[in-house]
Symmetry: C2
Subunit: 317 residues, 2 copies
């Protein structure tokens, strides 16, 4: 499953053909109130409506559907407490193969239930990197399952790029496209496709100040270690990988960082004015646009709303 | 503005032509998870995405756009603390005429801001029927503005019917259509159009047990007084009017009542699984389907999600 080169736009085309019948072609929404506030003309690609509630299903489906028969039979495995676990579980279910998830015992009940609901087998571990990796290795040793990394993976990146492909296909002449960046899978796929398909487009990542390793990596040109992240945007806690960093360094124009208050405000704006449920990570891209208003004024701006999985009992407003 | 006869489907056609460029043609959404839970095949008409956040804008726009020039110049007036006030204010703004709103001083800040944001002039009054009517009468005496009732109005009912018109036009062969019922404007318009356009369709109202005057009125055949309502579905507090009762008695097959817990559960289900923001009143129709599951099993069921205006700081879950 490991390929260490950078995917190209043809890989995204291949991915799209492979997953198109399995995914939702999510709608693109606009909101005149938010356009008034930002001065931009924003087109929101609503991956909160994607299967399993986030864009992650695109990459997971591509990775699972790309396995050869022998490998597929043994199943797939990952460690994740979040959207990748649910996405991988659902993709495996669709192909009829087992999924093994190493999940920290601190994961929210709602995430456990989602993963179990898709029929995956969960192994609980301590909420540390060491414990997660140990649990995962044990699963792989026992089952022969293929490890599917959440973002630093050729097929995952290619799959995530299909959201931007649908967006720029539906909305012509975008000036700029903004996606949140955590591990960098979504931003990588978005950048590869956008730079191929839309001449002159700018690709910008939105990142929480409190998890700003992508910003620091792009600024210094050297992959920076993550400092312990502490952002409400719980989908953006992971650091870039070597593969996503290579893509982002090549194709992404810049990263805009935003603080926690800006993330919550942008999230509230989306809920109140667009009447849709998005998770904090999704709001990071809009927060970046609001922070650097002048840069987006009168620009046709694509924003990828990454997901809608949020605990309704623990809202930040 | 007063017409005491029942609107017909041609009035809804006329209304649609009049307002079509002013309203959003809202999307119809489906949700496989909710279909699995209910056993029905549900098509949600998402009026939470309507301008001003609720179906109310359809009726208000039709009423405002139907005024003759002389009356229009003097403006429109109503008493409302809710979606009708915002809808009427926006419709008046679009026609460039004044809107006067008598609003109880207990109305949530967010509603006051919405109405003010559309440029309406608010007169605050005590939160009693007497005080509201007195304040309204004073406005009308002073300005000559036309009173636009929130639901017991020929043009309002005709406008509200355009949501069902769009729904049954987009989704063929519905077996049943369900709308929430408070004052009855939405249910009336829905019933008139559905019974005209879809042979054999059943039209059902969903109503909170704690505000069940429509259920009692339909059961007894006599318009029943409201007992003080106390439901979380704050869009459904008003009692039927004589006009909406006449329509509902003629065209609506039955009312299903639901308790407060069922409303909150259905609302949470919509937020969690569909990733959209709806107000409690919107959830009443789905709650009715879930309560009477057998009745809807394998049925192609249209549900009108009435609106999405909710205070995010006061959620019931």
């Amino acid at each position: 499953m490991q390929k260490s080169s950078i995917p190209s736009h043809t890989d995204i085309q291949t991915a799209h053909k492979k997953i198109v019948d399995a995914i939702h072609k999510t709608p693109v929404m606009t909101c005149s109130a938010i356009n008034d506030i930002t001065g931009a003309s924003i087109f929101f690609k609503c991956e909160n409506f994607q299967k399993a509630g986030a864009f992650k299903f695109r990459g997971a489906a591509n990775a699972v559907f790309s396995l050869n028969e022998d490998d597929a039979r043994k199943g797939v495995a990952t460690h994740s407490s979040g959207n990748h676990a649910a996405a991988l579980a659902l993709a495996a279910k669709q192909r009829g193969i087992p999924a093994y998830i190493a999940m920290p015992n601190t994961a929210p009940q709602v995430k456990k239930k989602a993963v179990e609901g898709y029929g995956a087998r969960i192994t609980f571990c301590e909420p540390t990197v060491e414990s997660r990796e140990e649990a995962l290795q044990k699963i792989i040793d026992e089952t022969g399952a293929t490890f599917i990394h959440a973002y630093n993976d050729y097929y995952i990146i290619s799959g995530q790029g299909t959201a931007a492909k649908e967006l720029v296909n539906e909305i012509e002449n975008l000036d700029v496209i903004v996606a949140p960046v955590g591990g960098g899978g979504l931003l990588s796929g978005t950048a590869i496709w956008a730079k191929y398909a839309v001449p002159g487009i700018k690709v910008i990542g939105g990142e929480p100040e409190k998890a700003d390793d992508a910003f620091r990596s792009l600024t210094t040109g050297v992959l920076q270690p993550a400092v312990p992240p502490a952002t409400i945007a719980d989908g953006l806690l992971m650091p870039l990988g070597n593969l996503t960093f290579s893509v982002i360094r090549k194709y992404v124009d810049r990263i805009i960082t935003v603080n926690e208050g800006e993330i919550v405000s942008a999230m509230q704006l989306i809920w109140e004015r667009m009447k849709i449920v998005v998770e904090p990570s999704s709001a990071v891209a809009l927060a970046a646009v609001i922070r650097n208003k002048e840069e987006f004024e009168n620009r046709r701006t694509g924003i990828i709303l990454s997901g809608g999985n949020v605990d309704l009992k623990k809202l930040p407003f």
